[in-house]
Subunit: 349 residues, 2 copies
């Protein structure tokens, strides 16, 4: 279905085939989107007929949902398989490196067209099957979080990370990204790298997601380790109300920037040091951006995060994040874990 | 030092400044190479004077070795900081996406030159400080592996992965990449994704590395879980001798392809389904490639892996890999873990 919609667009644009390149540590998420394959290889989407993929020998054993060719020399194989009738080739300029495009121009006698917009627009609105996969990733995230809270006997941030990693695998998913476990004053860093230090007292941001059949979830909850002061609770509850209010405000046709600006107004720009959210699908971060500069409006079928945060330099941070789906009527949280402040007074076992 | 060598090259090429872009999940390793910084931001290397970096507000708290500017609007800030005298700008065409380069051309009134070769050549030969960092990453890898072997009471592949992750953090490093723990017939997949299944009997490939101050190590060892047959031992010993022989054969001026072809000849092309190795530094995979098509010759100061493998589809795989340094006289293994076949007869606790 996803491929046939895209193929019609290729035909409309008189493009003979589209190529997507996943090399080693720089995979193109479009390969996952169209084929479900997450290894190294080059995906070919011809304007008509079946998709196919060219993979290095190392991947010969992997099962892929589309026809697979194993090649030692990629460009020779590509030339042979495309044949002489493929003269206009589409590539995603947002993903392809300048040198790879130059190489392609030399290796294949064809002209190249940017199809980044076509791909981005198609990927922006999620279909039924895609939503089901994201829902599954979200429900696994919720289950893992519930178990984590119930079994909160961790010594270090890494212990929490490992628990999450194992539980996500047990539930048939992969980690969508390296979880952030930021305790004590580490929580003031939104992109903190989890350490092997002992969990510190105070707010503890736990930000993680699962990947199910290529599709991601992303959720953050902030626990309190130790005994919170009245002020801590007030701050947390303020952020929680803002986050919930924004989910309520999200309607189709609403500007993404409006949501961000609402959060910024109530939290204070000084304390809210990142964007409000981001689209999510086969990439953890994809379109639309949800920040104060976003030009997009919300649409039915878009899946995105709402993650306001409140950070005080060198002191603490709080972040509450859900993955939500824009329906015709309203935004529905697909991550459903409790947002009540979870307090672990005696957290050290 | 690294920057000043590069700056001289910029001057020679009449380039006023070089820009390197690290955005979210697509970081440019050159940013790490020149500044030691691993977050989001844009690194500017002017032809003379101090390097600086422009980061989003979210990263305001991070300590970076070079001057840091925080900007809400990257391109405005970049235009302001570069000023009118910067007319020729270098970017790495191997790293930058086509659409980002187009955007730069619109935003900055300057001409753009490819500096991928300059950067690659400089990064190919490691300096003394770089080698010290890689050595440290390798010695941590050895220490973690020794502890893993000593404490081999794991139930699942994920248990092994978590042990490695925690121990590497305890030793002040990060994982260089997601470790591969492939037991039983999973070992026949070179890029197998570690599962939460019970460890299977037979060969178990453990492939991991540490990252110390940006610099990586990469090592694989293959254990045997259960009781190996005579044939298993013979196969393992054959691969071990081949791997050790190749390290001996590596001399400056030797062609990389020659080493790969030697391995291929003795293992059999059918069973050796990936390249022999790869350069390593701030990237796990960097220049030189060491495969049957490589054009490069070995040079003093190059650090790379030698990792022949032997794979039988759906049955098993064996891989032995070291990170080695090319010195004037010979290749020296920086990872020094034993290559004797480690047998865990009663591996299930």
């Amino acid at each position: 279905m996803k491929a046939s919609v895209f193929q019609k667009e290729l035909q409309r644009k008189k493009i003979d085939a589209a190529l997507f390149f996943s090399f080693g540590l720089q995979p193109d998420p479009n390969v996952m989107y169209f084929s479900g394959y997450d290894g190294s290889g080059v995906l070919v989407v011809p304007k008509k007929g079946d998709l196919f993929i060219i993979v290095p020998r190392m991947e010969y054993e992997k099962r892929i949902g589309v026809k697979k060719y194993v090649a030692e020399n990629l460009f020779d194989k590509l030339r042979g398989l495309l044949g002489k009738n493929v003269r206009r080739i589409g590539v995603d300029y947002n993903k392809i490196q300048v040198s790879l495009l130059s190489r392609l121009k030399k290796e294949l006698k064809a002209s190249f067209k940017d199809i980044s917009k076509v791909v981005a627009e198609q990927r922006l609105v999620k279909g039924k099957e895609e939503i089901e996969k994201i829902k599954k990733a979200c429900s696994v995230t919720d289950a893992v979080f519930a178990k984590l809270v119930k079994n909160f006997r961790f010594r270090t941030e890494m212990d929490v990370l490992c628990f999450i990693g194992k539980e996500i695998k047990k539930n048939g998913c992969d980690l969508a990204f390296e979880p952030i476990i930021a305790s004590g004053k580490n929580s003031s860093l939104p992109h903190y790298k989890t350490s092997d230090k002992k969990l510190g007292k105070g707010f503890c941001v736990i930000d993680f997601g699962a990947r199910y059949k290529g599709y991601c979830s992303d959720m953050s909850r902030t626990l309190y380790l130790g005994k919170p002061s009245r002020k801590d609770i007030v701050l947390y509850e303020k952020l929680r109300r803002i986050q919930e209010k924004i989910i309520e405000m999200a309607r189709t046709r609403v500007k993404c920037s409006e949501l961000d600006l609402f959060a910024r107004k109530w939290i204070g720009n000084k304390y809210f040091i990142h964007g409000l959210g981001h689209g999510i699908g086969v990439e953890v971060h994809e379109m639309p951006k949800i920040n104060n500069k976003s030009k997009e409006r919300l649409k039915e079928g878009v899946v995105f995060t709402i993650e306001p945060g409140m950070y005080v330099k060198n002191k603490f941070g709080i972040r509450i994040e859900d993955t939500v789906l824009m329906t015709k009527e309203k935004a529905v949280s697909l991550t459903k874990s409790t947002k009540k402040l979870i307090i672990k007074e005696n957290f050290i076992n």
